[in-house]
């Protein structure tokens, strides 16, 4: 397998945990709430997903447990920031640390155990194309994630539900004045984001690298958070950012495997550096940032 095939075959799967978490966070932030606990919710989802899949030999049950776990943890966050109107940054960080701690606790007796991943599905016709064929042989979750991204794009831009979420994020006071219930809408968005973060974690622990090791999320939650901003809260840009990061992280592996004489620690930094650079370039367009930035992001709302 040459390097191009290797990157094409793996980049979508490598991107999927970040993409799932980022899509959820994008919806949460669009509603005006900043949940920095993504890393912890992913870690909890990873642990619960692995444990359930290992115990019941069912990936579907694993994803279900992970989604419920992520949503439950995010509802604790919702209670703190919506119910008690606490600072969202502090509450998000605390929830993130809590989730990481819980994942270590639950996963302790499963350390280093392995399970089997999911089989790859080849898309007919597309997987017969020259050069890019490898791109179209992926597991079912990758395809579902792409379908989900399309659905979220359609809902956010072309449905009344999406309009309501965006309205609540832009101006919660006006939204309330015309009769939308800001807190329930934000709570639902937070739970959705939490569920996707949990599922994202489970994908990392049960499909992408089907084993349990403490700390295996390894910063993917933070990258997902950056992707949301880097993508200026637009679905297409978030998807592009996630795939770019996936491709870069595999590119780094192939460079190492090719024996290029660069310290591996430096190579491992490359995807992060490129992501930060892209983020800086995109954010430097003040006009675009101003038009897309969520006006009430992170601000508590009291009626």
């Amino acid at each position: 397998m040459n390097a191009v095939d290797f990157i094409l075959a793996g980049m979508l799967a490598a991107a999927t945990p970040m993409l799932l978490a980022a899509l959820g966070e994008m919806v949460v932030e669009r509603s005006g709430v900043l949940n920095l606990g993504l890393e912890g919710m992913m870690a909890l989802g990873a642990a619960l997903g692995f444990i359930t899949t290992y115990t019941y030999q069912s990936h579907a049950l694993g994803f279900l447990a992970a989604g419920l776990g992520g949503a439950a943890l995010s509802l604790v966050f919702a209670l703190i920031v919506l119910g008690f109107v606490a600072n969202q940054v502090a509450a998000g960080l605390a929830i993130g640390i809590l989730g990481t701690g819980l994942s270590a606790l639950f996963g302790k007796s499963f350390e280093s155990l392995t399970i089997s991943g999911l089989p790859k599905m080849a898309l007919p016709l597309l997987s017969d194309l020259p050069v890019v064929a490898a791109l179209f042989v992926q597991d079912v979750v990758v395809w579902l994630t792409i379908a989900l991204a399309l659905s979220i794009w359609a809902v956010m831009n072309h449905s009344k539900l999406g309009l309501i979420i965006r309205a609540v994020g832009e101006n919660p006071h006006a939204a309330r004045a015309i009769g939308f219930r800001v807190l329930p809408i934000r709570c639902a968005a937070i739970a959705f984001g939490g569920a996707l973060a949990g599922i994202a974690g489970a994908y990392a622990s049960t499909v992408y690298t089907p084993l349990w090791a403490d700390g295996m999320i390894a910063g993917r939650g933070w990258i997902a958070l950056a992707l949301v901003v880097f993508g200026t809260w637009q679905t297409g840009r978030v998807v592009f950012g996630a795939f770019l990061f996936g491709a870069l992280s595999l590119g780094e592996l192939t460079t190492q495997a090719a024996g290029v004489n660069i310290p591996s620690q430096l190579l491992a930094c490359v995807p992060y550096i490129v992501t930060i650079l892209m983020l800086a370039v995109i954010s430097s367009n003040r006009r675009r940032m101003r038009l897309n930035t969520i006006a009430s992001l992170g601000q508590p709302f009291e009626k």
Partner: protein, 502 residues
């Protein structure tokens, strides 16, 4: 005839403030009914109760004779009540049709067509596909009205609808409202502008301090009578106009250009004006036409190198706020809380923020005794109603805080003073007081530039006027030689601007 809407002994309290106390109100079908009162009289609260945004603590609301218990605006809309908010409830990053689709059911293409039809019928033309942030304030108001009309209301509530409109648009709005009345829609028209109410309304309910103080036919009363009912005493007398010779130029803008990279902001182009010692120059125009940008450039919050701004004889393009203040410049911004004062800090500490040069700081340490004395003097001299220098700025009413901020700046005896919206949200008594003090400063030789939306105010106190429209400044109009109509033409950009003439 059954009343369309009637309120019986309705009360609402927010914490320590009794916003509405035992309000009785009857609105007949097809009438244009004014709710008249000063800022803080409880008008907006009352409308929120009728529209279901808030629930009353006590009392009954009857709709067509039936008691109703509104717990959300959606229920009010279902009954046939529509509301146009003072600070619009529109979303800037959505298009007109998206804003409307939020509460009006229907397919987007149908809605867009109905928006155009209604626009033609009632003179409410607006492009359904336009983004709201790109619309003028008048257009945004039309969007709000259309959004209500699409739900076929029987009662339309308008909260201070004319406060954001130039005179010509007010006439157009009134035509629209009369056309609606002819269709049998009742209108609740909230305002503190007496002449408008006399012109438009057939009934007026007057509020003061959260209570109803009268119900009259405004067409049969003079503005003076209505004002007395509204403020509880006779109107303060107008300021005497005095003519005086002006001194040297203290502020000169020559061909000031400013390119704004904020898509929601305004760029300024070729602004030229002079303010002399001993005169008040006014900048008229609807907010959002470059007022904030102009104020930021003059105050030094935005620094733009060059000699397009000359202040007290120096080019100050590259000079920041602190140095400009040191030269004898003072500035009262339009946002009292957050820019004019820090709400969480005491009045004494707020005084220190701009008056630190008046002997309140020694070797970097605050001298508490002079700080308190300075603040106490400001409170006494400018009639600020507050327990004392230790009171939190955020706890003061709008009018009192404005008097305090004006006092703080005036005590510095600036050579050049910039005041933005001096009487926004300030009651009539305090507003008169503030205007009189500005005139007194002018008489004492200060150069004053006032940015205001209130034409009446500008005509009262200014020697000369300019009008700001979409970042362009009109030629200078001496107040004694111009009319509200002429200023109004410039406010909607129809005047002969030098750019067009050239």
């Amino acid at each position: 005839m059954t009343a369309l809407l009637s309120l019986q002994s309705v009360s609402k309290r927010y914490g320590a403030v009794q916003a509405n106390a035992g309000i009785n109100l009857v609105v007949d079908p097809g009438s244009i009914h004014a709710i008249l009162g000063e800022n803080g009289a409880g008008k907006s609260t009352l409308m929120k109760l009728i529209y279901g945004v808030e629930s009353p603590d006590a009392g009954v609301i009857l709709w067509k004779g039936q008691p109703v218990n509104l717990s959300s605006p959606a229920e009010a809309r279902a009954l046939g009540i529509g509301m146009v908010f003072q600070h619009f409830s529109l979303f800037e990053t959505l298009t007109v049709v998206q804003n409307i689709a939020l509460i009006v059911p229907g397919r987007k293409t149908d809605l867009a067509r109905r928006i155009r039809t209604l626009g033609d019928e009632f003179g409410l033309n607006v492009d359904p596909e336009a983004m709201v942030h790109a619309l003028s304030v008048g257009e945004r108001q039309r969007v709000e009205i259309i959004r209500c009309l699409l739900l076929n209301p029987e009662l339309l509530i308008l909260d201070e609808p004319t406060s954001v409109l130039p005179p010509q648009s007010v006439a157009r709005l009134f035509e629209t409202l009369r056309a609606l009345q002819a269709r049998g829609v009742a209108i609740l028209f909230i305002s503190h502008k007496l002449e408008e109410i006399k012109e438009l309304c057939d009934t007026a309910t007057i509020l003061r301090g959260g209570q109803v103080t009268g119900r009259v036919d405004p067409r049969g009363h003079s503005a003076k009578d209505l004002a007395t009912l509204m403020i509880g005493r006779a109107m303060p007398p107008p300021l005497p106009a005095t003519v005086q010779a002006v001194g040297e130029v203290r502020l000169e803008l020559s061909g000031l250009d400013f390119v704004n990279d904020d898509p929601f902001g305004v760029s300024l182009s070729d602004i030229s004006l002079r303010v002399h010692s001993g005169e008040i120059v006014g900048i008229a125009g609807i907010s959002g036409n470059g007022q904030q940008e102009l104020a930021a450039l003059i105050s030094g919050e935005v620094v733009q190198p060059g000699d397009m701004i000359r202040m007290l004889g120096h080019a100050v393009g590259a000079v920041g706020v602190a140095q400009r203040r040191k030269m004898g410049f003072a500035f009262v911004p339009e946002e009292r809380l957050g820019r004019g004062a820090v709400p969480e800090m005491s009045l004494a500490d707020n005084a220190l923020l701009t008056a630190h040069g008046a002997g309140l700081v020694q070797n970097g340490f605050i001298r508490r005794t002079p700080e308190r004395a300075y603040t106490a003097a400001c409170i006494a001299r400018y009639d600020v109603r507050t327990p004392g220098p230790e009171a939190e700025a955020g706890a003061l009413s709008g009018g009192n805080l404005q008097k305090f901020i004006m006092g703080r700046e005036m005590m510095l005896e600036p050579k050049l003073l910039l005041v933005s919206q001096p009487t926004w949200g300030v009651d009539i008594g305090a507003a008169t007081d503030i205007r009189q003090r500005l005139v007194a400063m002018r008489n004492a030789g200060a150069a004053i530039l006032v940015i205001s939306e209130e034409l009446e105010e500008l005509f009262q106190i200014c020697d000369r006027l300019h009008v700001l429209h979409k970042g362009h400044l009109s030629p200078c109009l001496p107040t004694h030689a111009t009319t509200v109509e002429e200023v109004g033409t410039y406010m909607i950009g129809a005047g002969k601007s030098p750019e067009v003439a050239a």
